[in-house]
Amino acid sequence: MTTSTVDVKTPEQAPPPVPAPGRRRRFAVHFAHYKWLYLLLLPGVIYFAVFRYAPMYGVSIAFKDYVPFLGVNASPWVGFQHFEDFFSNPDFGRLLGNTLILAFLNLGIAFPLTIVMALLLNEVRLSILKRTVQTLVYIPHFLSWTIVASLSFLLFALDFGPLFLFINSVLGTNIDFLSDPAWFRPLIVLQEIWKNTGWGTIIFLAALATVDQDQYEAAIIDGAGRFRRVWHITLPGIRSTIIVMLILAIGQMLNTGFEQIYLMTNALNRSVADVFDTYVYFVGITQGAYSYSTAVGLFKSLVGIVLIFGTNALAKRFNQSGLF
């Protein structure tokens, strides 16, 4: 991560004019030559050092038996004890499974829907209609999860929620959506779609605006219909945006959203609802097992890093430009 930060901030320039022998000397000359550029770099380095890297020393409590009274430094080291406890815990498999299933459901359903919605919006010709719809679908993003959860509780309430009554009368069933474990994941994905799909279209709409209009004209002359044009011109046109967004989404994938899941969990669906984020809260904050939950959080971050590098490598292999 340091590598990428520093690289991005170093402007591409010609090498120093007089390469002197010796690495140290060479660097000194290089530094003298570009000192003002390095000065520009300084605020960024300080920002990352102070606000991003310095707090990470707290991660060390994952390898200690942290007691607040003793403080981080005085608490005894325990090595990988917390990790061993976690991996040998019967909860581990269930947590990993629940987290991954929810993550892939969100990625596999909510992410493509964002693109579909952007494409649909892009095809709307009447600009006032397009802008109105856009504004309307952005609104749910600004509602907090607490409100979304309360709405769900009202709509799906047992015996009197409108959606509960409607769906069950259509299907002829008596499903309690809020406590049935089989309906927990669909409900979570549905909420995610309702809340964030509209907002996610912003970047894709921006990318769609950059697609070369001449190509469409040429395609129309060649007799291509709407779907052909979308398939052969629009989608390839925004392919690199899709890849970048996908890599970012995968990096965030394991952040299944603490609030949303916490609010929707109850005793009957906990077996499918427990994910890393809620577990860390439950064990760490409510039970004071700070070290253990930090270890769990650290493990989650490591999986996240592996995923983001993996996807990036895959993107490059398939001849696409990756994120870095």
């Binding site: 340091t2 590598t3 520093v6 690289d7 660097f27 380095v45 300080i46 990352f48 050092a49 102070v50 890297y53 310095a54 020393y57 007691v67 607040p68 009274f69 003793l70 403080g71 981080v72 430094n73 019967p90 909860d91 509780f153 309430a157 047992l158 015996d159 309690d176 809020l178 406590s179 474990p181 109850n266 005793a267 009957l268 906990r270 077996s271 439950f282 064990v283 904050i285 409510t286 039970q287 004071g288 097992a289 700070y290």
Partner: protein, 509 residues
Amino acid sequence: MIRRKLSLAAAVVTAAALTLTACSGGEAPAADSSKISIMAPFLEAQPPSADGAVQKKLEELTGKDVNITWAPNASYEDKMNITLASSEIPQVMVVQGKSPGFVKNAEAGAFWDLTDKLDQYPNLKTTFPEVQNNASVNGKVYGVFRARGPMRAAVMFRQDWLDKLGLKAPETTEDLYKVAKAFTEQDPDGNGQNDTWGITIPKWGALGSSSPYDIIEEWYGAGNRWTEKDGKLVPSFETEEFLEANRFVKKMVDEKLINPDFATFDGTKWNEPFFNGKGGIIVDVDSRVSVLINLFKQANPNDFQNKVGFVGNLKGPDGELHAHPTDGYSGFLAVPKTSVRTEAGLKNVLEFLNTMNGKDAATLLNNGIEGVNFTVEDGKAATIKPETPEGKAVSTDIKSYAQLGTNVTGNNFYPVKQASEYEQKVFDKRVEVMAQDLKSAVYNPAAAFVSPTYVAKGAQLDNIVADARIKYLAGQIDEQGLKDAIKLWKTSGGDKVQEEINKLWQDSK
């Protein structure tokens, strides 16, 4: 090149980290016997102001410069742990319970052991030694406990419904079933529709939380968290009575005598079905009786009497009364060693706490200031009506200051005079019923014991059984599934908890 920049960055990071750690190693403020700093939770929307009348009076009564840090109740535990890790530690800390975080800190030596010290102070020498023992960590007293009513379990029901159906108030669990069934099936609100149920139970399933489930299990004789069987302590869910009690609750769920959304129903809306005429029974603490009466009073000040009836604990199927008591305390006031370094300093703080539990200070913390917000009538504190702005400010502030009251020698302040004769009558009856039930209280024999395994993972373990209980009641698993969950509790570490608890129990005898 990159490597060089990296090493530079690493150097900067290390330097920054060192600076930060250096900051947190500051010295505690020097002891000054005229100053007392306290950290306490507040349960109101706003903490009381630092220059209010109550604060001034408190400083006058104790002769100290009292500096109170109020932290919101909801995040108090986090704030407490953060404070302990900082350099700004108060001399007195309200600790809300024997949470794993507190136990770890205490065992690392964060707090003074007050076991042999409290008896030297007349207002701190408790008249409830068993409660003080409950509040201890394996016999070590780390604070002055905050006394709470030892008996609070009650059954409240719609009196008007009961009268309409010609039923009498329940005395046994079997009566409870009959009333619940009648409330469900005999149209107690007389609207011609089958739209009522018996008991309302909220989403509240943790073990040992005095939930309706816990209370009914105790009535059945399952014990209070732990119970003695064949000379050994076993968790109450390992008893036959536990299964019987849950069969009883399940029968009521199956016959729709309990609200169908009991697994998801929001506990903050508990009064609504009762008030709106949906569910006619609540099993909870007796103070809810007054809350419910107030709801009816607000809706119709002319007709609010005889809407709410209540009884105390119910007899179980064995004909015996196993009343469900509380632990008798709600946390304690502990003295951190980091801020109070010497025995002399500790003496100073304990003397302050002794004054705080005297009659004058206790009256201030719980009733307010006489002549400003209350007057004494027949030995009771009556709110001055109409309220003056000063009186109102005092009444609001004491809701928070009451958090500092310990009352370990009983209540040294005036009981509150109720707003009307009817409410006073109900209040007096509540006190009487609870005092009667207290004689049959079945206490948790392991309340004082803190097992290391339980500290490490007890809450997760308990969740196994608590979730299985709800699943069983909802019909997701059968009784065998519930038994399997109890077995899983044992094999996942519960066995060890039980072993440790029994050892502590044997040692304490």
